[in-house]
């Protein structure tokens, strides 16, 4: 473990600690070893780095004061949501103030008619799912595959995707408005809310979309308006399987052409053995009646995929009513070691076969059972393809293998013509080495403009 760094410039640590207590109260600030230790770790393979203080604010105004304090003393500030990116995106690489935002967890408004939810930044996916199920059963949101403790704002900020990714795209495409504390402390709103209207649309005001995908380096999202979608009375999952990975892009294409599914995911994995070598599809369907459900099933499995089934190239394995909420995969703990990490990429669907084959090779080279998955985004405009590597947290050798496999996979994702989703520092450096120079210069200028003291989540997206 690397030791905590001292604040870079100025500021007596004791005075800063007291100032933080004055802002949020003593219960919500710590400079004790226990908090510094726990918040130094990402859950993946990223090396830990200790913050100097852990602070858990409750309001944007408190964050604003913390930012003012950090700027005066040039102290790094690292915003943390659920901490479940597994990519080390909220590791305090240069110490500073780690902001745990999860106390800001109020569901401020659900607008049934305009179908949006206004949330504080610490609202978790599970909290929103449960709230909608209990209070607004006709509404749902695009729930990512992350555990329920992942925050909605955090997921949007890293361009996450969820189980409505096929009809509606990235979760970050579902933003109606944001409230952000800028790196210099101003509290700004974007979208219709910025002119005092409801939080129902981001458009058509001038686009200032510079807060998503920036890993907290351009500001701290404190409120988000998220689009909600109709929730049908019947929801469930159909399973379809092919034994040739080359067929997967075509299957994606055919299913998306019907526009009948809510979510389409293809996966293959070593464990359980029956899944190994095969390409399974989970296809979520939703309907308000049995008649509607039958209609959708007919369109997909009789019409779109019928010839696969008739030729014996594909099999329909049935439909199960009721959606399973995301579960941490049991395969993630196959080493009985409590650790896994994955490389996510945004990839052309046509690359599924190569992603599968090359990913499998990497896994086998590192002695890790392979687990790959591709989730369709939009009308097969892209897929989020992930390669997962399990490790044993108590075994440094398995962690090294997982880390090496991750780095190889980062490179593979770019080589195959994709982009890395929520890249860690290594992936960021690979991406920036390929970025158009003018784009890179613009990024640098933007960061300098917004964050003149360079305090926001340093280490991330640092343009050389």
């Amino acid at each position: 473990m690397r030791s905590a760094s001292s604040p870079q410039e100025g500021g007596n640590p004791t005075d800063i600690y007291q100032a933080l207590i004055d802002i949020v109260g003593a219960d919500h600030v710590s400079n004790r070893q226990e908090e510094l230790y726990i918040y130094s770790w990402d859950l993946g393979t990223t090396e830990p780095h200790r913050p100097d203080w852990v602070v858990s604010p409750r309001t944007p105004e408190e964050i604003q004061k913390i930012i003012f304090l950090a700027n005066v003393n040039k102290i790094p500030v690292i915003p943390l949501g659920g901490g479940l990116s597994l990519a080390g995106l909220a590791v305090p690489f240069r110490g500073g103030i780690l902001l745990d935002l999860k106390r800001m967890d109020t569901i401020i408004e659900v607008n049934d008619r305009a179908r949006y939810a206004l949330l504080e930044c610490g609202v978790s996916q599970g909290q929103l799912t449960s709230y909608l199920e209990r209070r607004f059963p006709g509404l749902t949101h695009s729930e990512p595959g992350a555990p329920p403790a992942a925050t909605v704002a955090g997921n949007v900020a890293i361009h996450g995707q969820g189980d409505l990714g096929h009809p509606y795209g990235f979760n970050s495409d579902m933003v109606n408005g944001l409230e952000v504390v800028l790196p210099t402390g101003e509290i700004c709103r974007f979208g219709a809310c910025s002119i005092g209207a409801k939080w129902f649309t981001q458009h058509p005001l001038p686009d200032v979309g510079i807060f998503l995908g920036w890993t907290g380096t351009t500001g701290i999202i404190t409120k988000i308006s998220l689009r909600l979608f109709p929730r049908k009375k019947i929801r469930g999952t159909a399973i379809f399987v092919v034994d040739n990975e080359e067929q997967v892009p075509d299957v994606f294409h055919r299913i998306t052409h019907t526009q009948m599914a809510e979510d389409i995911v293809a996966f293959s994995q070593t464990i359980p053995p029956y899944a190994s070598g095969l390409q399974h599809f989970t296809i979520n369907l939703a309907a308000d009646s049995d008649k509607e459900l039958e209609f959708k099933q007919e369109l997909i499995f009789d019409d779109a995929l019928g010839d696969y089934i008739r030729r014996g190239d594909g099999g329909y394995l049935g439909f199960t009513r009721g959606l399973q909420h995301p579960q941490i995969s049991k395969t993630a703990d196959w080493r009985k070691g409590g650790g896994f990490e994955y490389v996510g990429s945004i990839m052309p669907v046509s690359q599924y076969p190569e992603c599968y084959r090359r990913g499998r090779e990497i896994s086998e080279r590192h002695g890790i059972p392979y687990t790959v998955l591709g989730r369709c985004i939009g009308a097969a405009h892209a897929m989020m393809f992930s390669w997962t590597y399990a490790f044993n947290r108590a075994d440094q050798e398995t962690m090294r293998h997982a880390k090496d496999a991750m780095h190889e996979t980062d490179e593979l994702a770019l080589k195959l013509g994709g982009t890395i989703w929520k890249p860690g520092l290594y992936g960021q450096s690979l991406v920036m080495s390929r970025l158009d120079p003018n784009t890179l210069t613009l990024m640098k200028k933007l960061k300098q403009l917004l964050d003149p003291n360079g305090i926001m989540n340093p280490g991330n997206w640092e343009v050389p």
Partner: protein, 393 residues
Amino acid sequence: MNITDFKYEEIIHRCFRCGYCKFPVNWMDVNNCPAYARYRMETYSCGGRLWLTRAWLTDAIQWSDHLAHILYSCTSCKNCEIKCPLGINVDIINMIRAAKGIMVEKGRIPKEARDFLENIQVHGNPYGIPKSKRGDWMGATSLEIYKNQEYLYHVGCVGSHDTRVQEAARKLGRVLQRGGVSFGVLGRDERCDGNEVKNMGEEALFEMMAQENIARFNKLGVKKIVTLSPHSYNALKNDYPLYGSNFEILHYTRLLLNLIEKDRLHLNVNIPVKVTFHDPCFLGRWNSEYDAPRRILAAIPGVKLVEMERSRENALCCGGGGGNFCMDLLGGSPDSSARRRVREALATGVAILAVACPKCLTILEDAVKVEGLDDRLIVKDIAEIVDEACGTT
């Protein structure tokens, strides 16, 4: 420290810290771990405690008062074990308990915990009240001292010494009498059952207490025991058999339900009131008894049972387990789980928050006062409501 000496060395690193342990099953609130709800720092979550324990045992961090506070703020409510999706879930509390045990061995536990355990050792109760006063709760009742009756009524420390709970203990005695139950109490000879002692990591003391109690019960010829407290129920039912006991153990709610269903207890008085029930952890999550209390309340004329959003296995712990009813490491904030819980109860629109646990009774009643809800919400033990329904008040 040497982690190889830790009984759970092989599994403690397997916590992923995914955070399921913080939620109820329906995910409605991330605050279903009472310690996390109170402090909202990852260190106070179940995963945080496990990671810190491993860090301590591998010398990545050193023991501190704060580390001890974090571990002892765990109430052993079992929410984490029920919600954790991994195979290690059955041993989560065992791991925390074992870590507390190492702190006990080294004499490095919070002052509040030390006081608790010292008082148990010296006085047989955590409050430091002389043993001679243990039977004072009986007052002028006609309760009999145990002498070969069918049941021993085990009141427990809180029922014996807390003035508010003494009232409930007496009323339960009266209800049992009304039901024609043959029972007796030990009065000043009763001793702590040790459920909290075990969960605070003092295994040796617990073993001694269990053996002494078993010997005492055997000497008296006890065959059946009915408890006021779910904590006592848990220790006597699940732990004492490991030391050779062979008693039939009932929590009083099951016995009262039997009496009602066999028409031995007549609930004659109409009580037109809305009631919600708070599941005690050691009755619900630890022993899967969710129905008896609800069926009793449903049998009382006029009572309308309204469920809180978090109920049964999803119930939010009051914050009293693991000795915290006495140590109070989770108090002093609107975020204390007891205060959260009474606000949740109030939101159901009820007038009565029913409990079936002495610790819940005291903690939630205190929370009602602190929240300034005295005139809107009354905390009552089910035994008290049944007593009222029997027309004995």
